[in-house]
Symmetry: C2
Subunit: 387 residues, 2 copies
Amino acid sequence: MPDASQATKRPPPLAGVRVIDLTQVYNGPYATFMMARNGAEVIKIEPPGGEHLRRRASGSDLPFAMLNGNKRSVVLDLKTPEGVATVLKLADSADVLVENFTPGVMARLGLGWDVLRERNPRLIYACSSGYGIDGPYRDYPAMDLSVQAMSGILGITGFADQPPVKTGATLCDFLAGTHVYAAVVTALFERTRSGLGQMVEIAMLEAAYFSLTSNLGTLFRAGGGEVGRTGNRHGGLSICPYNVYPAKDGFVAILCSNDKHFASLTKALDMPELGNDPRYGTNKGRVAAMEAIDACIGARMSTLTKAEAFARLMRHHVPSAPVRTLREVVDDPHLHARGALRWIDHPQHGRLVIAESPLRLHGCERADDAPSVPLGQDTEAVLRSIA
Amino acid sequence: MPDASQATKRPPPLAGVRVIDLTQVYNGPYATFMMARNGAEVIKIEPPGGEHLRRRASGSDLPFAMLNGNKRSVVLDLKTPEGVATVLKLADSADVLVENFTPGVMARLGLGWDVLRERNPRLIYACSSGYGIDGPYRDYPAMDLSVQAMSGILGITGFADQPPVKTGATLCDFLAGTHVYAAVVTALFERTRSGLGQMVEIAMLEAAYFSLTSNLGTLFRAGGGEVGRTGNRHGGLSICPYNVYPAKDGFVAILCSNDKHFASLTKALDMPELGNDPRYGTNKGRVAAMEAIDACIGARMSTLTKAEAFARLMRHHVPSAPVRTLREVVDDPHLHARGALRWIDHPQHGRLVIAESPLRLHGCERADDAPSVPLGQDTEAVLRSIA
């Protein structure tokens, strides 16, 4: 009962913070989504025709609706002097401006940090790009797939006897967007001391790098040679069991990071012959017999459904999980019970699953839910407010 | 030249913020690492024998050194009343306490939020776990691999005719850790208004969910059925070219999100027959001929090295990147030029690559670099300070 002790919640933490949002697709929009859910006033500037994600033929309306709730929509053409002048005027009364254009675009538009800070020294200017605002790769076009490749994440994903494979999720964009949010709020906190804004910057490549910490450990342990792909096994091939095993109707991930987990696993799956084998009493012994143990567990698992196996494993506290389909995730009773997901009837897009910001501040309210709005709905009202 | 305009930098943004760090491995330690690099005083509480990552046989010392620079190390046994009493006393003068134990552990130790807030109403208490502090999955043991499975990320990664495969990177831990940092700093900002601390909470499963936004769009577009694995192709199979192609000495990722990119690609690779084919003038036409186009580009790419192909593609601004090895990433001239990576001679661990926090605040200094310290180095000094 997390909230019982804080019966009276305070206003959303970013209430009163005004954000000019020039971002598109995932990286920037995820950052400003979390700001909006925490009570910031987010004014999303879209080009005529709408932000890229609004127009994208390749997805449903879900991605736009997921990331753009609680934002106002203002259409401005930044290719015209009027459009640029309006952004300047909006930035004068803003606390934060966020953009994820290619480096150099804002300066060419006449909206560079030098110009904006001159007009509003309290402004926090946040920019995010694939490789950052300087350095040799600055001008390389970057998207999630290319940053997955460049970061090394793609190369170490997949089976050893197969080509490398991308992560299905858009991880580099979202890692970057979370860091953008983090940098902006850090600057807001700092501004309460200095009274000054600043430029904050996130490079997707750098935001992705730390997720390789474990693999980099393996690289250095191997003397700096190379790290191969290990499929679903431990990246350093030094924990066993650690794999994804075939069940009757899908797959289940299991990892035993200590001997107790292994003992519990053999109980959960009724495999005393495995549990009693003295060679397998230590992780070292199990690693030496990885093929045999994986085959043994795989054979047993394939007699159970995902749900049966998972129920047994949870009863014995073995770290594990079914490999779920997206359909199962969207309908997950746990995520719905926690309010992390909820079904809404979106005024434009129909019945959709909307996700709450993962940032749970138990002492504060969140902004009231408001679905994403049609393109340009707030143009007139916002322009009037700065006229 | 990002810094030229801000010649005089201000102190690190979190200077004066004191953090009690009870975290281990990746999720929590990454959050407190970013706090430490931004100037917070981070007091890392370790059990006798040291934090799990310090003792881990399966990696080198690199992961610990990467995540624990600029932190003090204090050894306390939380299984003793003295250890618990010391944490309580430390929390009395702290701004933030971070933990990533299984839910319920802190309360059982006598260190629950109810106890801590009573003593120090300004304290921000941050907790992170796999599934959160309530809901049906609360007590399930969770690690990166199991959250990859549970979130759906694992199931959509891999080739259609192969089993699903985990992401090689530890993405769920690091997505969560970034959100932990974000939530803590949001609460610090809010405290400048309310004067009060609060509990903030991150569930790894929720922090991972948003990275599936694009795939969820595909799910809903498909009428809510299922989303299959598409290997290195676009998740919705609706962009072409979009793949990882074999070069002479490795692989290169290429994506053409519009017709201009495709025209540039055919120029970059000297493939006029592809560029001039009227059937391929639109993405729709290319998607219909995906197999043929991928085969054609693949054949051409396999006559070039990764470096040759990438140089050609960059000259024509085609979104693409070589699939790099970890060795290539660690030695990357761009990351070193930006100060994102640097070689150090670590006093305990020898020559290592250390990574800078991805949060770049151009108006502020960072904390002076300090390498991770031996276990318990600061126990005496810290205990004396609260005696």
